[in-house]
């Protein structure tokens, strides 16, 4: 097996090639959706915390 091909692809791989760009785009999309959902949940948690303080 070619030793060079076992080197860290971060150094040797095509970090800007179409496949890497596609991965980045996919990662970004899923991460944005995730952050939106988590933010919404955090917002609800904050509103529940406020309500609890008001009601008690």
């Amino acid at each position: 097996m070619n030793v060079l091909s076992m080197l860290c692809p971060v150094c040797v791989g095509l970090g800007e090639g179409p496949m890497a760009q596609a991965s980045n785009a996919g990662i970004a999309t899923l991460m944005i959706v995730t952050l939106m959902v988590i933010t919404a949940i955090a917002g609800v948690a904050v509103s529940i915390a406020r309500r609890t303080r008001r009601e008690s």
Partner: protein
């Protein structure tokens, strides 16, 4: 009659339909929001797969080159209309208009059924033309996205029917209103997902 045996489980559990004061939610409402958060992740994953596949592809057709945007528009109108009738059902049941609510639920279900029929006919046309998932990744992700969405429409149709059928005079109005609100949130979510789907698959 044994009162304990005849008491439905939901009556023993607090806040099933009235909101709990310090959280502002009823169990049903919180439950359906959590379910929608989960489904957002599901469609988010499918859309991110679309983005990954399309960005990495050397060439990718424009949506209208492969798909009939007219049919897509028809489906959009059907679901948009169903969203409006769903709103009517929610308003009616909240105001205690049982028959009107039932009718609106039935119409919403009917529109959902029409959507599914149009979708199935479109699928059949694609299959006849050899436009199948194995042809290329455009068709594969198209069928995956629209198929998962159609499954969600089917599930919604089943629930809408069940709620409509259960809206007989034996069901307390408060419970009917709660059920209608719960299914409405789900249904509007399904409509919004279709809008995103329509724009991304058909129009770009």
């Amino acid at each position: 009659m044994n009162a304990i045996e005849d008491t439905p489980l939901s009556m023993e559990i607090p806040y099933a339909i009235e909101p709990r004061p310090d959280t502002g939610f009823s169990n049903a409402a919180l439950g359906v929001w959590l379910f929608l958060a989960s489904e957002t992740m599901l469609f988010g994953a499918l859309f991110s797969s679309y983005v990954l596949l399309r960005t990495g592809a050397p060439e990718w057709p424009r949506g209208w080159q492969r798909l009939d945007a007219g049919i897509g528009l028809l489906e959009t109108i059907l679901l948009a209309a169903s969203g409006v009738t769903m709103l009517a059902a929610v308003r009616a049941t909240q105001q205690g208009a049982r028959t009107a609510g039932r009718r609106a639920l039935a119409i919403t279900a009917g529109l959902a059924l029409l959507f599914l029929i149009v979708e199935l006919l479109a699928y059949a046309a694609h299959l006849r033309a050899g436009e199948v998932p194995s042809r290329d990744t455009f068709w594969a992700i198209y069928f995956a996205l629209t198929g998962v969405h159609a499954l969600h429409v089917t599930g919604g149709l089943v629930v809408l029917t069940v709620v409509a059928v259960s809206a007989s005079s034996a069901l307390p109005l408060a419970r009917l209103a709660a059920r209608t609100e719960t299914v409405a949130r789900y249904w509007w979510f399904v409509d919004v997902v279709w809008l995103a789907l329509f724009v991304i698959c058909y129009l770009t």
